[in-house]
């Protein structure tokens, strides 16, 4: 059964990518929606299977590592697979209605969308470092393509900038992989850990880790390597922005986190961990600050991503040389942050897109007084904002709670301040939007209500991110021992 599920999971996206490449936009949409159903069902099935029976290793086509592709199917991975399915299908659904079918180049949306999806699945499930690289590249290239779909010069500039950053990050990562293989003779993280248990740490091996983490940080847009992100996320079509912010940046972070959790203890050092944490904090503050200053709605959301990504990197200091329980809390907290941010940010971008459609302008000022029309999307935007502000009962709150506990438990109280200030700063930019919408002005008497299907999608996502906090214990229990799985080297 699981074999069929795995096969479905891996090959549907690729197959659909090829299939849709051959069609125009309208047909592609129809086919994609069928594919989405298949993919969601498969992801759900796999998630259920793993949550019942536990994780396993899966050699693709019966080939074993190192030459074959070995997949690691554990609770965390399938949770992310499911998350991807949810967010991507929401974006796909939304895009089908949102994107203008008349522009000829828009038909490339569907293949790129499916390549992106397959790349994401490859990253979540990837077991060895090189396959992760391939997955990352697949993601990057299709993401760049999606950004470029905007078609205007600005979109192209943003996408080229994005592409260069992504490629540089990939190469840095690949160089790290090369060094690792050169030193340890294996590509599997578990293998490296196994090797390190037997031997003393060779000199210079920290360099490999540093290179990989730096490359991935660049792809994740950690401050101060974040400057490619806001233009790309801000200028892309709303469903694309949602995909990029919700999932794409998470993929590179996911690899970085796995590397750090396995290799951080032997290869990393305290200063590096604290430095990464510090950069994360700077990202939180700086990103939020800039988000407050943006004039365009989607830029606000994009800078908010920069800030929210900062939280993720608090994982590094909070798991380095601390007690077992703190590590666990930090991991759980970050996992929740990834999920809730993915849901909330996707909801926010989609809602922002709808609002732009409604008001006919992408500026924050244009929202003046729209709340009197009870725009559904504004409501979704607001609910997603609750999660971003990490207020209860959202998943963001649960994440923040766990991170607070981890910071207090590890004695690194300075992250507590960062977390609290970050929450307030995010409130500042979220409330800026609310505020604008409540301003009564006589000028706005026209308001276009987008189709219901466009409006309902961000609402579902926002509600999911809001409700995540209430069920976070269950969600986390499925990812029992996240990132850690004894496996064959």
């Amino acid at each position: 059964m699981t074999l069929w599920l795995m096969a479905g999971l891996l090959f549907t996206p690729l197959a659909w990518a090829v299939l849709t490449l051959l069609m125009n936009f309208t047909w592609g949409r129809l086919v994609t929606w069928v594919g989405i159903v298949v993919q969601v069902l498969v992801s759900l099935g796999l998630w259920l299977a793993v949550s019942r029976d536990g994780g396993f290793y899966y050699g693709l086509g019966g080939w074993e590592a190192p030459l074959g592709i070995e997949l690691r199917v554990d609770g965390l991975a399938v949770t992310f697979v499911l998350l991807t399915a949810v967010v991507a299908s929401a974006c796909g659904w939304h895009a089908g209605v949102y994107i203008d079918a008349d522009k000829p180049w828009h038909r490339y949306f569907w293949p790129l969308f499916w390549f992106l999806w397959s790349g994401l699945n490859a990253v979540w499930l990837g077991g060895d470092l090189f396959n992760l690289y391939v997955g990352l590249e697949l993601i990057s290239l299709s993401a760049v393509g999606l950004v470029a779909l905007g078609g205007k010069a600005g979109a192209l500039r943003a996408s080229i900038r994005y592409l260069l950053a992504a490629l540089l990050g990939s190469l840095a990562y690949l160089l790290g992989v090369a060094l690792i293989y050169g030193q340890f003779g294996t590509l599997s993280i578990a293998g490296v850990v196994f090797w390190l248990e037997e031997h003393p740490v060779p000199a210079g091996s920290s360099l490999a880790l540093a290179l990989m983490v730096t490359g991935l940080a660049l792809k994740t847009a950690l401050f101060p390597l974040h400057r490619w992100l806001p233009p790309a996320h801000g200028i892309a079509k709303s469903p694309v922005s949602a995909l990029l912010s919700a999932l794409v940046v998470k993929a590179s972070f996911y690899i970085a986190a796995r590397l750090w959790l396995e290799l951080g203890e032997p290869l990393g050092n305290l200063a590096a961990a604290q430095l990464v944490g510090l950069l994360g904090s700077a990202a939180i503050v700086w990103g939020s600050w800039l988000a407050c200053r943006q004039l365009e709605l989607k830029q606000v959301v994009a800078y908010s991503s920069v800030a929210q990504i900062g939280y993720l990197f608090l994982l590094f200091p909070l798991t380095y040389s601390v007690s077992e329980s703190v590590t666990l809390q930090a991991q759980q907290g970050i996992t929740l942050q990834v999920i809730s941010h993915a849901l909330a940010k996707a909801a926010m971008f989609l809602a922002a897109g709808n609002l732009i459609l409604s008001t006919g302008s992408s500026r924050v000022d244009a929202l003046k007084g729209v709340s009197r029309f009870l725009p559904f999307s504004l409501f979704s935007f607001g609910l997603a904002g609750v999660s971003l502000m990490s207020l209860p009962p959202s998943g963001g709150f649960a994440a923040k709670w766990l991170l607070l506990q981890a910071s207090l438990g590890s004695g690194q109280w300075w992250w507590v301040l960062v977390l609290l200030v970050g929450g307030l700063l995010s409130a500042a930019y979220v409330f800026r939007i609310y505020r604008a919408s409540f301003l009564e002005s006589s000028e706005t008497d026209h308001f276009y209500h987008p189709p219901r299907s466009l409006e309902i999608i961000p609402m579902i996502l926002a509600l999911l991110s809001l409700g995540l906090g209430l069920v976070s214990a269950e969600v986390l229990s499925v990812m029992a021992l996240p990132f850690e799985e004894e496996g064959s080297p």
């Binding site: 009197r372 207020l391 709670w401 929450g423 307030l424 505020r435 409540f438 209430l470 976070s472």
Partner: protein
């Protein structure tokens, strides 16, 4: 899962679902919206009455599940939560009636009532929360759902007030979160328990406990508007009258005060708080707030602002009451939770009536309004005298009980504070009453509306009268069973002899 598990959840859900339904209703669906509002309010009141009776007989209502690893979400009905729940259920009903009349013909009513119900759901959640974590959850929800109401008018002034409000409350929330998380880190997940948890606790953690207590009070003190964290409250008075009435007089500030009482009584335990030396400074702070805000109120010319400062002052009575280490004073503090709510809502209703019917906002415009609107003015008079502490009204019962309690534990200075506050209250309320009844009315009112037979719309007319009658009744019938005083005595009995 028995029915008893579900009753608290249902009580919470009534307003939550009402809120969603109202959001979904079209703006023009006036009758249906009113029906949903009132139906939900009545249903909730019924559920609360059932729970009050049950709690009195010792039935346990509650539900809990693990939300985040290590933390449980607990809804639980105990005597104290029923006090707050009862207050919000009763006043929600009245305020809904009032708001229907107040917002007649004004825009954005769906939005208003939706968020309004959401607020009440949060208040209910705060009342029924069974541990600090759950409390915090609803506490923040309250912040969020009140913001749209504060800025409802959409004017620059309202938005500015909303901004101030959000800055204050979210910062307070952050501090509170820190405190709760820290406490959780030190001792784990603590359910509210009568008598508290820290009696005879390990001396090693006393320093942390003290710091956490300060943070908790600071966080909760924002909503409870303790000096110097009260700045948002007078500004938030730009909101429509029902909002000022229910939320700022009752729900929001009470949420803060309620939280402080919870912390002192049911987390730390009154013995432990006293032993840690935390109560005395809190009492002084509350006393200072009482006096300070009353003095500030003297200089306000806007009626609602004056009432707002009065709220700041009165809420600190609750805190003063619980921070005196003695059962009788605690009764006085707790009972004020209800009394202040009833009295202040009366005053705000009346202020709203004056504004809506005659266009009066400033105190110097109120000359002779008593002749034009006798019913409202009688209610206002009763409310004001209640605030002053004139017997036999609600405020007197509070002051008398608290004063007796303070004397019983030899904190004589509290009596001085009470008397000074009463004098100040008289100084800022009596001139208003004088203008109402004994000045000649102006030639014409700033903005008069005719409503037909009654002095104002019937929706606006009856709620303040009812609350005024309640103000009298809870005072006169203070010794009946199930009166606020008796209920507060029950709470304190359970707290002091757990």
């Amino acid at each position: 899962m028995t029915l008893n598990t579900w009753i608290p959840v249902l009580a919470l859900m009534t307003s939550l679902i009402a809120s969603l339904v109202i959001f979904a209703l079209p703006e023009k669906g006036y009758r249906l919206r009113t029906a949903v509002n009132l139906g939900a309010a009545l249903l909730k009141l019924g559920l609360v009455v059932v729970m009050v009776w049950g709690v009195f007989r010792g039935v346990g209502y509650g539900v809990s599940f693990t939300m985040v690893p290590g933390v449980t979400f607990v809804l639980k009905a105990d005597a104290f939560s029923m006090m707050f729940a009862g207050l919000s259920a009763v006043l929600w009903l009245l305020t809904t009636i009032y708001a229907v009349g107040y917002l007649e013909d004004s825009p954005n009513r769906s939005r208003f009532f939706g968020f309004f119900s959401l607020c009440v759901a949060s208040t209910m959640g705060i009342a029924l929360a069974g541990n600090l974590f759950t409390f915090f959850l609803f506490y923040e929800m309250l912040t969020l759902s009140t913001y749209p109401l504060v800025v409802h008018r959409g004017t620059e002034k309202a938005l500015k007030a909303g901004r101030t409000y959000v800055i204050y409350t979210l910062t307070g929330g952050a501090v509170l979160l820190l405190a709760i998380a820290w406490l959780h880190g030190v001792v784990g997940d603590l359910p509210f328990r009568e008598g508290g948890h820290f009696t005879g606790s390990d001396p090693d953690i006393h320093r942390s406990l003290t710091l956490i207590f300060i943070l908790l009070v600071a966080g909760l003190g924002v909503k409870a508007a303790i000096f110097p964290l009260h700045g948002w409250l007078p500004q938030a008075m730009v909101a429509p009258a029902p909002v000022s009435a229910l939320l700022h007089a009752v729900a929001v500030v009470k949420a803060g005060a309620f939280g402080i009482v919870r912390v002192v009584h049911d987390v730390y335990g009154v013995d432990a708080s006293s032993a840690l030396g935390l109560l005395e400074p809190l009492a002084w702070l509350a006393a200072f707030t009482i006096i300070y805000a009353s003095v500030r109120a003297l200089w306000q010319v806007d009626l609602k602002r004056r009432l707002a400062f009065s709220t700041v002052s009165q809420v600190s009575y609750i805190i003063l009451g619980v921070s005196i280490f003695g059962p009788v004073a605690a009764v006085g503090g707790l009972v004020h939770l209800l009394h202040q709510g009833i009295m202040k809502i009366t005053l705000f209703f009346c202020a709203g009536n004056y504004a809506e019917t005659l266009g009066i906002h400033r105190i110097d415009e109120m000359d002779g309004a008593g002749r034009r609107m006798p019913g409202t003015s009688v209610a206002f008079t009763i409310g004001a005298f209640g605030m002053i502490g004139a017997p036999p009204l609600a405020g007197f019962i509070t002051k008398w009980t608290m004063g007796s309690g303070a004397l019983a534990v030899n904190m004589d200075w509290v009596v001085v504070v009470l008397v000074a506050s009463s004098l100040l209250n008289a100084a800022y309320f009596l001139p208003v009453l004088y203008r109402l009844w004994f000045r000649k009315p102006a030639a014409h009112w700033p903005h008069e509306r005719q409503w037909g037979r009654l002095e104002t719309s019937a929706w606006l007319f009856w709620p303040p009268l009812l609350t005024a009658v309640m103000t009298v009744m809870v005072g006169v019938l203070a010794s009946l069973p199930f009166s606020p005083l008796s209920w507060a005595e029950l709470i304190v009995l359970r707290e002091y002899s757990p």
